[in-house]
């Protein structure tokens, strides 16, 4: 009865939040407050268990790809929306999935989990598998240094009841896997061929951590990226091979795809690589990762500047230098110092810079000798001015944005839903 009332109230709150426009973590907070163990009660009884996906970059995309592959194999999958990777975000996603009786119609849960909250969430829901995407230089203002992330993920691995899957092409998650394997943890991995790695100007962009010799990952890879050419990705699982036409170009997407395929190969019934490849080919971008929005008759592609490796990987994927660019960054990026490490050759010229960190971007562009139009700190004014610089022959406009500006821009353009929320 208590669960019925709690779910009913949380659904009501969720409905009200959506009427106001946009998603919210508040329904999840309400549900957690009323039924603190709701995550455990709802998810741990799922027949195929719970998978966590975590790491510095690629969490959202890997999660979305894995969900797509498992659904293509007939599984009913519960997942959280991109970015909703804190406890309240998970609970909010649950509000949408639960029936009023508190039953979740799913076979398996695939959850994107914030690396800093991983152990806190694992104390509420025990994962069967944990997927580690990579450890890169990310949010130093939050984590201090990448070594702290390594320690967090190492601790989280201790909660996995079946095993962990690591990105074997990232030296840091490979070192983490080797450390765990030496302790007797089941460790599976995927890898990337040297030829595929060479397809991106800056390779795989691992964080420079310094380890003593830890050893090798055990066994053969569960999946491999053997070649990447634009959006074409060659994948191998055992003796089976497939060429996938991905919706977007970029080595980082290929790595995410291989992680998803590798994980699915261990949990999907009668796993089929062709079926997985078909699911990947029809996957949609999560927001801010190549998503195109429409505003005043113009198409604007959103490229997230989350951190150095993420932005660099996105820029590497552009075949020619971008000419109509809007850069929008605010206090959601407390320390944008890392932009001075970005290879900016993919940016030909910038039309407008906005947000409270616009001056820091203007400094970078000055020192790099990249033309920029004007600095307009107000986002709404900048957005109007940006589309005003283009006509119908201009083609795609590009916005390089941090998360907070991306959400604001989507709202200004009329995109009110929290994408991916169930």
């Amino acid at each position: 009865m208590r669960l019925f009332l709690a779910v009913s109230l949380a659904k009501l709150v969720r409905f009200a939040a959506r009427l106001r426009g946009g998603g919210s973590a508040f329904p999840g907070l309400v549900l957690l407050r009323l039924v603190p163990d709701v995550l455990r009660r709802s998810l741990e009884s799922l027949p195929s268990g719970v998978i966590f996906v975590t790491g510095s970059n690629g969490k959202s995309t890997t999660t979305a790809m894995l969900v797509g592959i498992l659904r293509a194999h007939g599984m009913r999958v519960f997942s959280n929306p991109a970015g909703g990777n804190l406890p309240q975000g998970l609970a909010s996603a649950l509000v949408g999935g639960l029936s009023l009786r508190g039953v979740l119609a799913a076979d398996i849960a695939v959850l994107e989990v914030d690396e800093a909250y991983g152990t806190q969430i694992a104390q509420r829901i025990t994962p069967g598998w944990v997927v580690f995407t990579n450890i890169q230089v990310d949010q130093l203002n939050r984590f201090g240094e990448p070594e702290a992330v390594f320690a967090m993920l190492e601790k989280l691995a201790g909660y996995a009841t079946t095993g962990v899957l690591v990105n074997g092409s990232d030296p840091n998650t490979a070192a983490l896997g080797a450390t765990l394997a030496a302790r007797g943890v089941r460790v599976e991995h995927m890898d990337v061929s040297p030829e595929a790695t060479a397809s991106a100007d800056h390779g795989l962009l691992a964080a420079p951590l310094y380890f003593d010799d830890i050893g090798e990952l055990p066994g053969d890879p569960s999946a491999s990226v053997t070649a990447v050419a634009g959006p074409q990705v060659d994948l191998a699982v055992g003796d089976a091979t497939a060429t996938v036409a991905m919706p977007h170009s970029g080595l980082h997407y290929a790595v995410d795809a291989a992680l998803a395929v590798a994980m699915a190969s261990h949990v999907a019934p009668d796993f089929s690589l062709p079926r997985a490849a078909d699911a990947l080919a029809h996957s949609s971008p999560v927001y801010g990762r190549g998503e195109v929005i429409h505003y005043r008759g113009r198409d604007i592609s959103l490229t997230m500047m989350k951190n150095l490796p993420s932005l660099q990987a996105n820029l590497d994927a552009f075949a020619t230098p971008l000419e109509r660019v809007w850069i929008a960054v605010d206090d959601g990026t407390p320390d944008p110092s890392w932009i001075f490490d970005v290879d900016t050759r993919a940016i030909g010229s910038v039309s407008i810079i906005s947000g409270s960190k616009a001056a820091q971007w203007a400094l970078l562009l000055e020192y790099r000798g990249i033309d920029y139009g004007e600095v307009v700190e107000d986002t709404r004014a900048a957005m109007g001015a940006f589309v005003g610089t283009a006509d119908e022959s201009s083609g795609m406009l590009h916005a390089i944005v941090n998360y907070e500006q991306m959400m604001l821009i989507r709202r200004i353009a009329g995109y009110k839903e929290l994408e991916g929320a169930s």
Partner: protein, 241 residues
């Protein structure tokens, strides 16, 4: 006149934009009409016979040991450059390692290169946040600090910045001296504080018998840097200075 700037072990000490200070300084000089080049120096074999400026950046905790090891064979080269009049611009961990000593987070004491009269101790808390103050010429200066522990200057040494805010940060930051500039202001400290780039550039050019003439570029970067510092000051709630 060709000005040579050495970027010291940028493969290890180049975290969070900190190795960009060498490139920023080179561009600052080029835009004033002077030829300038940046040379990465990670081993004695890579070291040019002389340099005008030596820049070194910061690194993470696990980089301290490898960076200290890489510096050992370079110590003699660095001392030779200093004796010949080279400037040294050091940020974060690079400053720590060019000081007298570094106590690591594990409690081991590593000898420094002895360029700066300062001693670092990485056993304390990490500070992460924006910092604002006035430098030794009372010029507004700011940056984002992400460093662990503390640095103590030897008696008689002059701090670079008197810190106005936040109160949780020490009352001063950095060290200034004869052709020396060190700070914990992270990343591209010279971008947010082009007056320090001006000090170094002007000194180097005049030492070589030339004159440093500012152009529109220098005013533009000062304009943007001033705006960025103003916003940091406002976020920290500083009303004076």
């Amino acid at each position: 006149m060709s000005i040579v700037i050495a970027s010291l072990i940028p493969d290890i000490l180049g975290l969070n934009g900190s190795s960009a200070n060498a490139e920023i300084l080179a561009e600052y000089l080029r835009r004033a009409g002077h030829d300038a080049s940046v040379v990465a120096v990670s081993t004695p074999e890579m070291a040019p016979p002389s340099v005008d400026v030596l820049c070194v950046g910061t690194g993470s905790g696990s980089s301290v040991g490898p960076a200290a090891t890489a510096l050992i064979p370079l110590a003699r080269v660095i001392a030779r450059w200093r004796d010949a009049g080279a400037w040294v611009c050091a940020v974060g961990t690079g400053w720590d390692l060019l000081g007298q000593s570094v106590v690591t987070s594990q409690g081991d004491t590593l000898p420094g290169a002895g360029i700066f009269a300062s001693r670092a101790d990485h056993r304390g808390e990490r500070f992460m946040g924006e910092v604002y103050g006035l430098d030794h010429h009372r010029r507004p200066s700011a940056g984002y600090v992400n460093q662990v522990g503390s640095v103590v200057l030897d008696a008689g040494e002059q701090p670079l910045v008197t810190v106005s805010s936040p109160e949780s940060y020490p009352a001063s930051d950095g060290l200034t001296g004869d052709r020396l500039l060190a700070t914990r202001f992270g990343g591209p400290a010279l971008a947010l504080n082009p007056h320090w780039a001006q000090d170094i550039a002007q000194s180097v050019v005049e030492e070589a018998g030339g004159e440093f003439h500012r152009r529109d570029f220098h005013d533009r970067v000062e304009h943007h840097a001033a705006r960025a510092r103003e916003l940091i000051k406002a976020r920290l709630g500083v009303t004076a200075g």
